[in-house]
């Protein structure tokens, strides 16, 4: 009896659901402008522009908040909230002329008071981490009129222009002055001046933005912009291929083969403007403090192999000057700098061996060299586990250095663990060799000064960690920060790079290039030069006319799926019914 009841109920359920499926209509959520869908590779941590740290958070807030200008991939500065700017001859005063007619997304007018407020706030509150680089040298900010802002510095700092203009997102004074603790403010409904406004956020899944009608640059063509989170790189690639999303970034080099040549898909490679991925060593450990040893390592490590086989040609060849060719204004004319450039692998190994032989490091019975004072050239190399090419580079390095009589033990560790060992918050760093990567602001000061300048109290990552100090380079680094003449600053940069290529505080293995892909059959107006997530793409992208008549934003649920679900539910109900019926005593 009970079984039959269950069966009947199940059938009724199927009938009811089938009737519903036939009657249901697919979800239509799109208006004439269309909704652009881009991927994020993990969830944001917060929408607070001052304290957010996750990379995806920057991509999203860049659409809502703006800076004084943006830096293009060719290095030039493109006006945003500031139309023009000037620097005093002593590089201590910076004047920005702000754009007229800009309004906040809640309708209030944007004025110099907002800029002054933002910088004052960051200066008072050291917990607002993202703005600190700009305000550490800042003395005061004044706003002589509604559309002019003047920054005063105590000492000349040429890169301040970029730090102030590009690093700090301007927030509305009329909202933030009411916030009691800006560092703790979750900023769940951000109001900015940017082309898109915040609509909603579903944690772990997506963020929804909509076009801001009164944007100073003209309302974006698309009505909405959705960032959908795909944590799995392969799923992201498949989603683009399938048309489920319009564009995806953070594509690993191993997936590029499935994208190239696909119809209606364009693959973009964006070289990181200022990025470095290097092999480093602890200069307190003998014999890394001997320059010829570092030079020998530099010869022996096969950067061609790393470039071709590990990065598959999708990276920039490591330059010992530490600035990539993407830094067009500043990179050395001979970049990538490498003493081994143009030499064959055998020639380089011979050169390296010659250097080590010249130091009197003789190979022992096992082929590993021993220094005259008895130190065996066997070292541990810490490699961050992600991204995965770091460990492979470590293995390549071990292989290469084995040819010159050094034994390297690759130790893959979690990235944070490596960071903690190499850059401990206290105590003397205790390690031998490591691999690390970092991206910086698009000014050479942001990488060279911060990594190699060796005098406290400025915390320097590489110089402090490795125990590196070169007084000539230090002097030049100070000089370049204070040199307002671009030609002279450039000459200083070239000299610094030459010195770095000779002294080798670390050895860049490659410079990462980002891979992204987008579809071309639904939207046009993509700016491939600046990238998927750039301002240019956001304001220019629009529907292609022919597809505007066929809205297809949401994936529709096919009817047969429902029949399958109904069958599954029936099975479950039937089984539950069986199980329940077992409770009854069997008939005798």
């Amino acid at each position: 009896m009970k079984k039959n009841t269950v069966r009947v109920l199940g059938i009724l359920l199927i009938v009811a659901m089938t009737a519903n499926f036939i009657a249901s209509t697919p979800v239509k959520s799109q208006t004439s402008g269309g909704t652009l869908i881009l991927s994020l590779y993990f969830d944001i941590d917060s929408l607070n522009p001052f304290t957010m740290a996750a990379d995806p958070a920057f991509r999203v807030t860049e659409k809502i908040y703006e800076t004084l200008f943006i830096v293009l991939n060719n290095g030039s500065y493109y006006p945003q909230l500031a139309e023009s700017w000037s620097v005093s001859s002593d590089a201590k005063s910076y004047t920005f002329n702000l754009r007229h007619g800009v309004t906040w997304q809640d309708g209030q007018p944007f004025t110099s008071q907002d800029v002054k407020y933002t910088f004052d706030l960051a200066k008072q509150n050291s917990a607002l981490s993202n703005a600190q680089l700009a305000v550490t040298s800042l003395d005061s900010v004044e706003a002589p009129d509604d559309y002019t802002v003047v920054f005063h510095l105590s000492t000349a700092l040429v890169p301040f222009l970029m730090y102030a203009g590009y690093d700090v997102k301007i927030v509305p004074k009329h909202i933030w002055e009411k916030v009691s603790d800006p560092a703790k403010y979750p900023n769940d409904n951000p109001i900015g001046t940017g082309p898109f406004m915040f609509v909603s956020r579903t944690p772990g899944q997506q963020l929804v933005l909509k076009a801001y009608d009164n944007y100073w640059g003209g309302r974006p063509h698309v009505d909405g912009l959705i960032f959908k989170i795909y944590t799995n790189a392969d799923a992201r690639v498949l989603a683009v291929l399938k048309g489920e999303i319009d564009g995806a970034g953070s594509i690993p080099s191993t997936s590029i083969g499935s994208l190239i040549g696909q119809p209606n898909v364009t693959v973009i490679k964006t070289p990181g403007t200022n990025v470095n991925n290097w092999l480093g060593y602890n200069l307190r450990v003998y014999p890394f403090n001997v320059r010829q040893v570092r030079q020998a390592i530099d010869y022996a490590v096969d950067k061609d192999f790393i470039y071709n086989q590990i990065e598959m040609g999708i990276a920039m060849h490591g330059s010992d000057g530490d600035l990539t060719p993407a830094m067009k204004e500043w990179a050395h004319p001979d970049a990538p700098l490498w003493k081994g450039k143009g030499m064959s692998a055998d020639q380089r190994v011979a050169a390296a061996n010659a250097l080590l032989d010249g130091l009197g490091f003789k190979a022992g019975a096992d082929g590993i060299r021993v220094t005259p004072n008895g130190t065996r050239l066997e070292f541990d190399l810490l490699a961050p586990a992600s991204p995965s090419d770091y460990v492979r580079c470590g293995e390549a390095v071990a292989n290469d250095l084995g040819k010159i009589g050094m034994k390297i033990n690759v130790k893959p560790l979690e990235t944070d663990t490596v960071i903690n060992i190499v850059y401990p918050s206290s105590g003397v760093p205790d390690y031998e060799m490591y691999i690390m990567g970092c991206g910086y602001d698009p000014d050479p000061d942001a990488s060279l000064y911060l990594e190699f300048f060796s005098n406290p109290p400025v915390p320097s990552w590489t110089a402090d960690s490795e125990g590196y100090g070169n007084s000539t380079i230090n002097a030049l680094l100070i000089q370049q920060r204070q040199e307002p003449d671009t030609a002279k600053r450039q000459a200083l940069m070239y000299k610094i790079q030459e010195l770095l290529a000779d002294d080798l505080p670390y050895i860049p293995l490659f410079h990462r290039v980002g891979i992204a892909a987008h579809r071309t059959d639904k939207f046009t107006g993509w700016n491939d030069q600046e990238g998927l997530y750039s301002w240019f793409t956001a304001v220019n992208v629009r529907l292609i006319e022919t597809t505007a008549a066929q809205p297809q934003v949401v994936e529709e649920t096919p009817t047969w799926v429902w029949l399958l679900a109904a069958v599954a539910i029936l099975v479950v109900l039937g089984s539950v019914g069986y199980v329940l019926s077992l409770r009854r005593k069997p008939k005798q």
Partner: protein, 322 residues
């Protein structure tokens, strides 16, 4: 019976307290700290580092942090997440928990039912090709790494056949016209993840059920029931199956214990916003409050599930004396 319940309750409380302490110690045993993770690539002046340390309460001595942690847990205050500052841990967990519970309770239920069904059939026809087939398929699916199984299903069903989406719990839409559309969308997105979890785990249930069933089939009363002329289904399910089900109660309890955190790989493959992925990210970020909160939920679920399994088992099996 009351004494039994009391004894079990006390034991449960003690376990719970021990787990609470471990919850605090274990995340801090990991090398690294949350501040380094947050600082990431950004060069920060020492003042910022100090303010971060103060913000996380890490400038207080450890025992003080521990007592604060205990006091707050009993008050239900799990604190504020480090990696998603200033969101409270409770909010984060509550946002993600329903997705995980939905995914995992569904797949655990399906997996258990499938396991019971196949186990009974397999034992009844033990040695036959059906039995061997059931076991072989089950073991093959079980031994595959679950993220690989997930990827295969995602690629095959989602991309090649184009029947299912590439990930997420919902579609990228501005809004839904009504709740039914939302429910349909959610079900559509969760089909392949649930399929993955079910297929990857039913084999263990099958084997346990089959083993228990084989033991029961050799009992005298089964022979008696057959001799009486009862139908095959009747004997198989009502007589043998019912008694062989007892070990499954324990198995179900164990499976339920893994409900909260047990789908990290699947959640990653399908970009499903569940607690498993949250825990994984929290470990990387050394987000102690979030880890403490998540482990607390896992501990409560596990202990409660086991407790009820104990009670249920005692109730179902009249042979057990307490």
């Amino acid at each position: 019976m009351r004494e039994f319940v009391l004894k079990r309750s006390v034991f449960m409380l003690i376990t719970f307290l021990v787990v609470l302490c471990l919850n605090f110690i274990l995340p801090r045993v990991m090398p690294g700290d949350p501040i380094t993770h947050l600082m990431g690539d950004v060069r920060l002046p020492p003042a910022v580092r100090q303010s971060l340390i103060a913000r996380f309460g890490m400038n207080k001595p450890v025992w003080e942090q521990f007592l604060a942690y205990l006091a707050n847990t009993f008050r239900g205050d799990f604190g504020v997440s480090f990696s998603q500052y200033p969101k409270s841990v409770a909010t984060i967990l509550l946002e993600r928990l329903p997705w995980t519970l939905f995914l995992l309770t569904t797949s655990v239920t399906l997996s258990t039912l499938l396991g019971i069904y196949l186990g009974v059939i397999g034992a009844w026809r033990h040695g036959s090709r059906i039995d061997v087939g059931i076991q072989a398929t089950g073991l093959a699916l079980w031994s595959m790494p679950i993220f690989w199984l997930g990827m295969l299903l995602l690629y095959g069903l989602g991309y090649v056949l184009g029947l299912f989406p590439m990930g997420g719990a919902t579609s990228a839409v501005m809004s839904y016209p009504n709740t039914l559309e939302f429910v349909k969308d959610v079900l559509w997105h969760s089909t392949v993840p649930i399929l993955t979890l079910t297929l990857g785990s039913y084999a263990s249930n099958t084997l346990i059920m089959r083993g228990a069933m084989l033991e029961v089939l050799s009992e005298d009363y089964v022979l008696t029931a057959e001799a009486k002329g009862l139908g095959q289904n009747n004997v198989m399910w009502r007589h043998a199956g019912r008694n062989a089900m007892l070990p499954m109660v324990t198995v179900i309890a164990l499976n339920l214990a893994g409900v909260v955190g047990g789908a990290v790989f699947t959640e990653t493959v399908f970009s499903y916003p569940g607690v498993g992925l949250l825990i994984f990210n929290a470990i990387q970020a050394h987000d102690y409050p979030l880890l403490q909160g998540a482990f607390f939920v896992v501990a409560v679920t596990t202990i409660a599930a086991n407790f009820f399994a104990d009670l249920l088992y005692a109730r179902l099996d009249p042979r057990i004396k307490y």
